[in-house]
Symmetry: C2
Subunit: 392 residues, 2 copies
């Protein structure tokens, strides 16, 4: 476990940089070619069917909850084997058929142009009025977002491999140097602001360089992160400090996953003691129910839940002021989460959620301020790390 | 105006760093002492009144819209001279009286501890149950946020000077090096993620070092920012590229203000053609109506609105797909904004809003993707910069 180390003196390495850099220098040709081939083979199969007088169709894996399963061995959520047919001549499917091919073409164009685009951008890219009609290819971004998820699963490629990115959120500091799009970023010298974790953290864009850290501390909110950064927790405890502004976006999850896998760093999560905090943990650990197909490259089954724990109210002798009453929605959510297959068999998690329900209140990380401004950085987290008292 | 320059070769400077750094090394002793004195003189005056058998009261400037005025000469929103008395013995005011002194004490403690805290943190810091009662000092964070604003105006100190910070959002890249809490941050080498602009950008934490940039391009959304960063716009056009994830938070506004004032950089805003985009511009330029007392150190009266313009639909020969119909709320908001004193006398802004209302639709920056993925970075913004066609 994370031992306290003497702070190492870190000197910035002088790196000779190329005077100019080509746009798209971080493009992974090999991976891009593979993704393009997948898109083209989808198109080819449809053309072949059409030319042989068969109905133009293609199969996509079913993204409904009924087709998700928890892989107990891998300890991640996975998609089941069910697929559904999308057919041009089926009135209920023809619109989605058209949209899928439109966006598949859009992704191929992006790959060719060596550029990336936001989900909103993809919506506009595919948007046009069908000639001779007043019908638009997409009514709103919700439609194109769903189709992009279909494409991800059909092509078995992460959204990032299709050159599409989600909103950027989350920051990082700590004892690591990363190379992002050719720039060396020393996360030990990122001031009070930090390094903004990009939307796309794939190996072609992001490489890891020097890293002395023993572990990663992931906190839920940027305000808590600021407290830890101001107290230089990462320096004192030799770690990497990340935050995802609530439910961490894909970029942050992918970053955590890669640092965990490639650098063998344990991940400890400091989240609120409420169903939302438990759900965030569940997504980081097992994957998201909506996007189970990406778990393999996103989930961190070994992640640990460091706190806040429902027993903290008694254990830390907290005042009543930290209590936030559970509402009906919280109670329903807590019961749903307790029934998740990956929490179901875990006695400690069952006890955790039960205690919270019995308490009748939730608690936020910030509530520890009622003890002392820096109680969370100087007492709470160090004590948990020392004890090794985590939920798994 | 921003001329195209040859890209300069930038080499990272090797900086010797201190091996260890004291927590709070970025504390501005002089400023902190001044703020503490203000807090203490508030307390002293109350004690003095009490000891001389007078009712404990203090005056705070009125924060209502009726006490805001637009200073035509300075071109910013300012607070008027009206104040209101807060008295301990007035049943309707005693709670707020107590809360004000509680949070003032909290701020002094923060200054003494050389630490900063989030708004949420301040709420917890001041929260307790009044002995012998079941009454809490604060019912929710909304109460403490309001009191903190009262304190800001009463003490004539920015929230940041009281060591309190708001949520962090927004990122930056470009031809500038800043020093943040002692760390040298080269914004030319921030990869695809960028430098996360801190919540507190006061001179004690943030200093500017080398800057070759000719101007600042501020865009509304992180996804648009990513497009500009990926196309290395800031390198090609020698500028600084910022985004504020919608309405820019205080940190971003203060950063823009300081770079504009201290580095003499013009600020161009690329925002949506809708009332929300116009309002964002209004806040960046003249200050926010709710927090007019901070305009002097936040507002940028010389900021320019680069686009999207309502005439772009015709000028750029855009397709109907870019149109998003104005709803009733948009129309009401647009009329309100047109009536703002700082837009009222401006013929160009009146025409802009009128054209949008006549069009009956709004347009987003992302909609330019319907022309080409990089149309906005390669054609649209360069053309506007060349023409100098901005709204003021």
């Amino acid at each position: 476990m994370a031992k306290k180390k003497t702070n190492k003196k870190v000197t910035k390495k002088t790196t000779k940089k190329k005077a100019t850099r080509k746009v798209g220098s971080a493009v992974d040709k090999k991976r891009d070619d593979l993704t393009k081939k997948k898109i083209e083979s989808l198109a080819t199969s449809i053309v072949t069917r059409s030319l042989s007088q068969k109905e133009p169709t293609f199969e996509i894996p079913t993204r409904s909850i009924s087709n998700m399963k928890y892989n107990k061995k891998k300890r991640i959520l996975e998609m089941g084997p069910n697929t559904q047919t999308r057919s041009l001549f089926n009135l209920g499917q023809s619109r989605k058929f058209m949209q899928s091919l439109l966006l598949a073409k859009g992704c191929r164009d992006l790959i060719d142009a060596e550029k990336t685009l936001s989900l909103r951008g993809m919506y506009y890219m595919g948007l046009h009025t069908i000639p001779g009609t007043k019908e638009k290819t997409f009514n709103d971004q919700g439609e194109s977002d769903g189709i992009l998820e279909d494409l991800e699963v059909s092509l078995d490629g992460l959204r990032e491999e299709l050159h599409v990115f989600a909103k950027k959120r989350g920051t990082m500091v700590g004892n690591i140097t990363v190379v992002d799009n050719g720039d060396e970023i020393n996360c030990r010298q990122m001031g009070s602001g930090g390094y903004a974790i990009p939307s796309i953290c794939e190996p072609n864009v992001m490489q890891f360089k020097k890293c002395e850290a023993d572990f990663i501390l992931h906190v839920e909110k940027d305000t808590v992160w600021s407290r830890f950064n101001e107290d230089r927790f990462w320096e004192k405890h030799n770690c990497i400090l990340t935050e995802g502004s609530g439910q961490p976006p894909r970029g942050v999850r992918r970053m955590l996953h890669r640092m965990h896998k490639e650098l063998k760093l344990p991940v400890y999560c400091l989240l609120d003691c409420d169903p939302w905090g438990h759900y965030i943990y569940s997504v980081i650990k097992q994957g998201s129910i909506n996007l189970a197909f990406e778990s393999e490259r996103m989930a961190i089954p070994d992640a640990k839940f460091l706190g806040i724990r429902s027993k903290d109210y008694d254990r830390l002798d907290l005042s009543d002021d930290v209590k936030i009453e559970l509402n009906d929605r919280d109670i329903t959510r807590a019961k749903q989460i307790a029934a998740y297959p990956w929490f179901e068999g875990k006695r400690e998690w069952q006890r955790e959620i039960k205690t919270m329900l019995n308490n009748g209140f939730k608690m936020e990380v910030e509530s520890l301020i009622t003890k002392d401004i820096s109680y969370v950085t100087e007492e709470y987290v160090p004590a948990r790390l020392k004890e090794g008292d985590f939920l798994d």
